[in-house]
Amino acid sequence: MIYPAAGSMLYMLLELITAFLFGGLLLGLHRKIIARIQGRPGPPIVQHLIHTFKFYIKELTIPETSSMPLYVAIVLALSAVWVLAFLVGPVLLGPFSIIIMCYAVHKVSEHGIGLASGSPYTKMGSTRAVLSATAEMPLIVAPALVFFKTHTLVLSDIINYQILHGSLFMDLPLAAIATFILLLSKTPFNPFGIVWGKDIVSGYKTEHFGVIRGVMMFGEILGFFVLLWCFLTIFFGGIFNTPLTIMLTMIGVTIILGFICALTPMIAPYHSVMIQWIFALLALINVLFI
């Protein structure tokens, strides 16, 4: 077998395809677990991937009220952001700050997706995206604490530090929990998912269907993979640092996320933001242990 050199285009493309398929299966598993807990048979595990491919062959209609170039471009930007985050994170083990930037830009593009189509539901969703962006405090707190502990934000150095000194979870448990809450707020059907809540139909993606929804789901699957990977690598990098262990642990974390999502109700927008802030403040207590 010809092995592509690390860092070559083929290498990264293959990694991208693997992450996409695996992330899709994870999200399918997540749905299956929710259904099982709620006493339904639930969709098969491939359902999320089938959905994504199905949307690729569905007709795309663009609403007349939408602002056309933005309607398509912002979705492409959303998935480009996650492709970049994936390449910088799991593939190249580059700076963590770029992933944080990608996350922030992803929030902005969520807002843009909501505004681009003229529907009131998507506008409501995009307003909530701005509101929930204020709840991303754990995203600032966790890397700051990691930096003060390890004196680096480059992911490969963080992993090396953890291999030498033990996982950061032992030193920064509260920051890890705050990051877990952040991860939870990105999974479908979560209690903090005010952005795509069913009370506003589907939130910011109400008007997006057809091919453009497929591209959006492609980005979201990659995003889920990247966030799971970041959580595991930054806080458990000492234990899980080979692809096999990381992928198996991702399945485990997805099962836990499924349990949480199935058993919690959707929280009202302001409460959702407040609870995430509480976890971020709790993480700050970790400063005392550094």
Binding site: M9, L13, Y56, I57, V72, L76, S79, G210, V211, F218
Partner: protein, 73 residues
């Protein structure tokens, strides 16, 4: 008009997929590869999707498209 749109989408699909293929063949340096993948993967999936979307899925659908069912207002 419809055929023109399909050809336009096909051209754009080829144009957005080409840099990735060229990158694989020429083995471009790391930074350029990352840039190409970031900029061209989402549009290429989008335009490939548009091309796939417009293709008839079955013989029946192909016949349906030939028929004029609605003559307009």
């Amino acid at each position: 008009m419809k055929i023109q749109k399909q050809t336009k989408n096909r051209i754009l699909a080829v144009l957005t997929t080409l840099p990735i293929l060229i990158g694989i063949i020429l083995n471009t340096p790391l930074v350029i590869s990352v840039a190409i993948l970031t900029f061209f993967v989402p549009p290429s999936t989008y335009y490939l999707g548009l091309v796939l979307m417009a293709l008839p899925k079955s013989k029946k659908e192909e016949d349906e498209r030939e028929k004029i069912t609605f003559t307009g207002y």
